[in-house]
Symmetry: C2
DNA sequence: ATTCAAAGTTACACAAACGTAACTATTAGA
DNA sequence: TCTAATAGTTACGTTTGTGTAACTTTGAAT
């Protein structure tokens, strides 16, 4: 018994993501978002008290999605299968790393936001656990070097998505080169 | 025949850098900067018409510095010497890559800014030329693999500085692990 | 067809950042 | 010591974003 909504949650999250990536956390405003969604700014306040609340929910949504995908990756039997699956996931959504950085900036302006931030930390812990399993498997299978800190292994893998492909190399070639360098390095062997 | 200045260019650039890294391009304001420098906001308008002008000059300063350092790197005789020198330069100033991204966002609000942006592009071209020499040398010396796009070689090297060292590994160990992975990869050989 | 709850809009008051004009302060040199 | 040039401040109007209240619109259920 209500009027039809002019924008779905999905559209809102999509617009939010674009605005966050183009304008950053401080540049993200309800005015911009409302224009993007073609509604009045006040309409958004029907659902969220302020941008911190909206953004913390959005982050939660994004990270929960990623955790689900990551758990799928962990189901692969061998380390190499997981490795390729992880790359597929990362390159499917090229912006996770930047968004996580933004999440850290959100101040706890009310109880709801504080709760969301807590949930976010929790999910990030789960993400790390999941990723640690991946690394442990690689070491156990004697494929992944044991002398490199997990931090660096994960950092390198996740940072690759931020490298701009300015020379218009095809997606497949790009990803393959990236994997190659990560696995074998950029120096010629012996 | 004038009054002494309350802040030097150097202090202004230092404060600008910190504010840019903590608040991002859109979060950077003259109000924040003035507080940081302990002067009134209006004082800054004596030197810069607006933040775009200030930031474009700052970027120019930062990139010119970097280009100078990079030319020093290019003076090293062997590829390996250049490689290590480049890492020293990059890890000495951990923020160049993020700042370059910010530079792209500056809109050309007046002639001066437009001119600065043009100079910035020019310097970036020089940077790439300089880096290309580095890569060419590595390939010529048969140390650097020839089948990896220059793009990826440079991207990987520069992105490493953005990996957060959360586990408090010592700087030296950290940099060495990073180099090791870049050179030889994270997989065990054969 | 009527009702009413949720969706949406308009309009207002408030706060923060911007840019400028008119002022005061400092200091080297005539 | 007087002056001119530069540094800095105060104060104002403007713009942009925020949050809310009072309103209208829509559409499924009765």
């Amino acid at each position: 018994m209500a009027r039809e909504r002019k924008f779905s949650n999905r559209e809102l999250y999509q617009a939010t993501k674009e605005l966050l990536l183009s304008h950053g956390y401080e540049g993200y405003t309800f005015t911009l978002l409302a224009n993007q969604l073609d509604v009045s700014r006040a309409a958004i306040y029907k659902y969220y008290e302020n941008k911190e609340e909206l953004l913390s929910e959005y982050m939660l949504y994004e990270l929960t999605n990623f955790l689900t995908k990551l758990k799928e990756v962990n189901k692969e039997k061998t380390f190499l299968d997981q490795f390729h699956a992880l790359f597929d996931v990362i390159f499917d959504d090229m912006s996770l790393y930047q968004l996580r950085e933004i999440g850290i900036q959100i101040p706890k302006v009310n109880k709801k936001v504080a709760m969301n931030k807590q949930k976010i930390s929790h999910i990030i812990t789960e993400l790390y656990t999941s990723l640690q399993h991946f690394i442990d498997l690689g070491r156990h299978e004697k494929i992944l070097r044991g002398d490199i800190p997990s931090n660096i292994v994960l950092g390198m893998i996740f940072q690759t998505v931020n490298i701009p492909n300015t020379e218009g190399i095809s997606h497949q070639d790009w990803v393959n080169s990236m994997k190659d360098v990560i696995c074998n390095g950029m120096f010629i062997n012996e």
